[in-house]
């Protein structure tokens, strides 16, 4: 890497259950856009894709998140290499 060059921060995003179906996607890799450093800002970025993304991830919708397989809130920080998951409230048992 040359001086001054920064390595792209790539995260893996997983979607489960109702979200996976509505977004028609179970996972993707994303280069973190400038200024996206936590779960909340990632959600805002994804919403801007419009359509099902705007609907399913709308504020007030029950969407849960995990960062590296730990339940996380909107303030949880994210960085390159992280595995981030979005899903509805769980219904096991």
């Amino acid at each position: 890497m040359k001086p001054g060059e920064t390595q792209a921060a790539v995260v893996r995003i997983l979607y489960f259950a109702r979200l996976r179906e509505a977004l028609d996607r179970s996972e993707e890799e994303l280069v973190l856009p400038e200024g996206v450093g936590d779960v909340g800002s990632l959600l805002t970025f994804l919403r801007e894709r419009g359509g099902a993304w705007a609907n399913e991830l709308a504020p007030g919708k029950a969407v849960r998140a995990a960062v590296n397989q730990d339940m996380s809130d909107a303030q949880a920080t994210i960085k390159g290499g992280d595995e981030i998951a979005f899903f509805p409230p769980v219904t096991g048992g």
Partner: protein
């Protein structure tokens, strides 16, 4: 292994026997078995499909078991949760706890179920006469989990 996520059914008797084998300190074994019903929210259910998050689900269950161990005086605990497609009367989930006395075993068993229902990533989809639908989370489950905090 204190936690198992599997498609196969489980044998409650065999699991209890294995968990308490040779441990003469145990005076109490509590168990809970969750079973598929043929009715939910007023509609007939012919089939239930459970999805999970491989890796995180096991990790979340192990953390819940660790919490139960730190809160109650239990010797051991086992959680088995099935995934895939199930039919009414099928077993879904098994929790077993062992302790010297019943109080700790009962409480730890109930805590494990309450926390599992709100903290472990599983999602149910059910088949009804009107089609298939995702099961919504219940506020009563959140309330049950909050009792322990």
């Amino acid at each position: 292994m204190a936690v198992r996520v599997q498609t196969a059914d489980f044998d409650v008797g065999a699991e209890i026997a294995r968990l308490r084998a040779g441990d003469a300190r145990i005076g109490a074994v509590a168990s809970f078995i969750g079973v598929v019903r043929d009715l939910n929210d007023g509609d007939a259910v012919s089939e239930l499909t459970l999805e999970h998050y491989p890796g995180m689900t096991e990790k979340a269950l192990e953390e819940i078991v660790a919490q139960a161990r730190s809160r109650w005086d239990i010797y051991d605990a086992l959680v088995i949760h099935r995934v895939g497609t199930l039919k009414p009367t099928d077993q879904i989930v098994l929790v077993i706890t062992t302790s010297a006395h019943r109080g700790e075993a009962f409480k730890a068993c109930e805590f494990l179920m309450d926390y599992l229902k709100t903290g472990a990533p599983f999602w149910k989809r059910e088949q009804t006469p009107a089609g298939s639908r995702w099961v919504d989370a219940r506020e009563s489950d959140d309330a049950a989990a909050r009792r322990w905090s």
